[in-house]
């Protein structure tokens, strides 16, 4: 994972029927950092994610991975470099953690499994490493139905890690979790970024978690335009929050980072 991929969005626009969601969005995801997309409900964060993960096609503008338009990159080649963790995940309750994490090797495997021994060895070590990193080694044999919500989400995170991506997208990974598991997942993500150098872009619901765990913030207006991008300390102002969320909020400080009491 020494070679980090560059991910750029250029002049991206998207509309559902006559209803524009994103307008002329341009930004570059900083390599090897944790960036978080912030914006009010309905500002197009989810649409943007779907566009960036090839679930939707751009209507105008381009999305570039290492300078190559992602619409021309084959899905499998794309999934070898970019992994995504979604907010809600379903799986058969009798699926074991081990097998779920092995699914993460799918992009590297192809459809037929007559892989040479060294490739299978690589699969095994990637799966094992993903389990170790997410602290799930002891639970590998358990089925998903036996796990707590936090453990389940960790298992899906392990699957994404086993993909050995250069870029990891996280779409509100903590939404359905208790605060304890929210923080657990966010800390895992930070460790993953610091130790493996994986570039991370996420959407978080909680403003303060976003400010605390992110190296950079991308602020999106309710009209689907990029307002600003930069380090939380530098870009977060009461004016920006008002523009993003349509409400006046105060900003204090907590452990050297901006803190927004949202009460």
């Amino acid at each position: 994972m020494e070679d980090k991929a560059t991910f750029r969005v250029e002049g991206l626009s998207f509309a559902y029927a006559a209803n524009p969601v994103l307008r002329d969005l341009s930004f570059t995801i900083p390599q090897g950092k944790i960036s978080t997309l912030m914006g009010a409900n309905g500002c197009g964060k989810t649409t943007l994610f779907n566009l960036m993960t090839k679930n939707l096609r751009p209507q105008a503008g381009r999305i570039l991975l290492d300078g190559e338009d992602i619409t021309t990159i084959r899905l499998r080649a794309f999934s070898q470099r970019v992994a995504t963790l979604h907010q809600s995940n379903t799986a058969p309750p009798d699926l074991t953690v081990q097998r779920l994490v092995e699914y993460g090797r799918t992009p590297h495997r192809g459809l037929v499994h007559f892989a040479p021994e060294f490739a299978r060895e690589k699969d095994r070590s990637a799966v094992e490493q993903a389990l170790v990193m997410t602290g799930l080694s002891a639970l590998a044999g358990q089925s998903l139905g036996e796990l707590s919500g936090g453990q389940r989400q960790r298992a899906f995170l392990a699957m994404a890690i086993a993909q050995e991506p250069q870029i990891l997208f996280l779409d509100e990974p903590t939404t359905y979790l208790d605060v304890r598991y929210q923080i657990e997942i966010l800390r895992f993500i930070r460790v993953l970024n610091r130790e493996q150098g994986i570039t991370i872009l996420m959407v978080l619901h909680d403003i303060n978690q976003a400010l605390h765990y992110s190296d950079e913030i991308l602020a999106v207006s309710p009209q689907g335009q990029l307002l600003t991008q930069g380090e939380p300390q530098q870009v977060i102002t009461p004016e920006l929050l008002l523009e993003m969320y349509g409400i006046s909020l105060e900003i204090t400080e907590f452990r050297g980072k901006p803190f927004v009491p949202s009460v």
């Binding site: 899905l75 992994a83 995504t84 979604h86 809600s88 699914y103």
Partner: protein
Amino acid sequence: MKAKILLSFVAVGVLLIILFLFAAGTGSLHISLARLMRGLFIEYDEVVAIIYDLRFPRILVALLGGGAMAVSGVLMQAVMKNPLADPTIIGVSGGASFTAVLIAAYFPAAYFLTPICAFFGGVVAFGLVYSLSWQSGLSPLRIILVGVAVSAVFSGLAQGFNAMTGSTYAGAAAIVNANISLKTWNDVHTLFGYVLFGLLAAVFTADQCNLLQLEDKTARSLGLHVNAVRLVVSLIAVLLASISTAVIGVVAFLGLVVPHIARLLVGSNHRVLIPFAILLGAFTLLFADTLGRTIAAPYEVSASILMSVIGGPFFIILLRRSGKVYGR
């Protein structure tokens, strides 16, 4: 779990062999196992020859059709992520039987086209249900409701056209009534090629079926072309259900009950589930057919009637439990 899987395979395999031998030896001509073996492999025996011509095709048709319908059910449940999907409920069997009846009643000379036409009918019915129940996603309930309606229309048409010919065409009537008592080696040959192809294809899609159990977006982020895979797996499921419907008629609940029992026994991994469903489906339909022709001999109760009687209550149990088991 591994031990349970192995035990399930061995148990069903052994039961299947016993049932096969019992079915071959039992009926209006009753012979011992030893005589059957002698007649088949050592020397000519008139009674065994009759059994070979009349009873063996029926047994093989039941085995092939049962395996095909069960796997079709497994695949449809995988594709629709819906535990209640089944080729008869979804209307695929109805569409297939309607076209098969049309051929049998009006174009009997084109009987060799029956499998292809039945497949076409099945695809049309499946396409209708899928497109009519699509509303930014497939709600499990809508699929079942639309499927019931489409199914009712097609089976009504099949019965109607059959009645308009005065029910005089044995071929058409046999499909409507799912009567497999008059099957010949020709039927076995027709069924064998298509079913073998369909079952092999199904086995090879096991990994994709497993990935389809995840959210579509998650499967796509693993590089799976979700829509294309869904289409291919659907076509395999429709092929299996249509071909067996064209030959054995509409057998309700087989594609629903067998996959569920199979899942309870061997789990949801399609690499294991699909092969097991083949065995269990074959066993179940042969069991129903054999029971049907021995229970009130010399009269016969058709396998589809027995499947309805047994499958109906089972379906209700599933409906009542689905909230707990499938978290909906």
